[in-house]
Symmetry: C2
Subunit: 127 residues, 2 copies
Amino acid sequence: MNNRIKKEVNKVNVQSKLNALNEFWSPKIIGELNNQQVKIAKFKGEFVMHHHQNEDELFYVIKGTLFIKLKDEIIELNTGEFVIIPKGVDHQPYANEEVSVMLFEPKNTLNTGNITNTFTKPNIDTI
Amino acid sequence: MNNRIKKEVNKVNVQSKLNALNEFWSPKIIGELNNQQVKIAKFKGEFVMHHHQNEDELFYVIKGTLFIKLKDEIIELNTGEFVIIPKGVDHQPYANEEVSVMLFEPKNTLNTGNITNTFTKPNIDTI
């Protein structure tokens, strides 16, 4: 251990962080490691179909049901389930009811990938 | 999307994967993305104090209570909480009762870091 630098190690309660979110499709950063970020978001309604050129993306459902439409299928994720969308794969998240999601992806991954529209959030806060 | 390669996209139910574990301190891989791995493990008792020279490590508690002893403090993680242990930071996980944990760390991170002992698992299966 490098004792010259005091590294802060703080635990994160995911639900407490989710409680602070009041906007759909607006991810926030809650952790960073190995040039990857942990994000949370609440989804309801339909997002835009998009892909990420260079980033694989993990969606883990904390609470609720998330659908992810792919080219040929729809994946249904319930509480405690995750899926990894490989880079280059078109995907469109949607949710009939509010769903709370945790995401893992490389730092600076843009939420709408190759698309720019009103959903695009170029600057994401850490909470 | 690259249509020349059919990429398989399968969801993972974390609890179902945990149900297949029957040994403590024996992590299994359940996902891989961006040269990182998602692992699960069940812990009970006391692990060895160690650090990872180059890898930050995330511990997310799926069910139960996990303690992580650091140099100057003990972190208590309950269900739905995570902590990121930065590279170089000595840490010793322990659990008084069985706890189910999900981990995120770079591919090929060794579970005992700088230490080699009976806990060391150099080859980890994907389940």
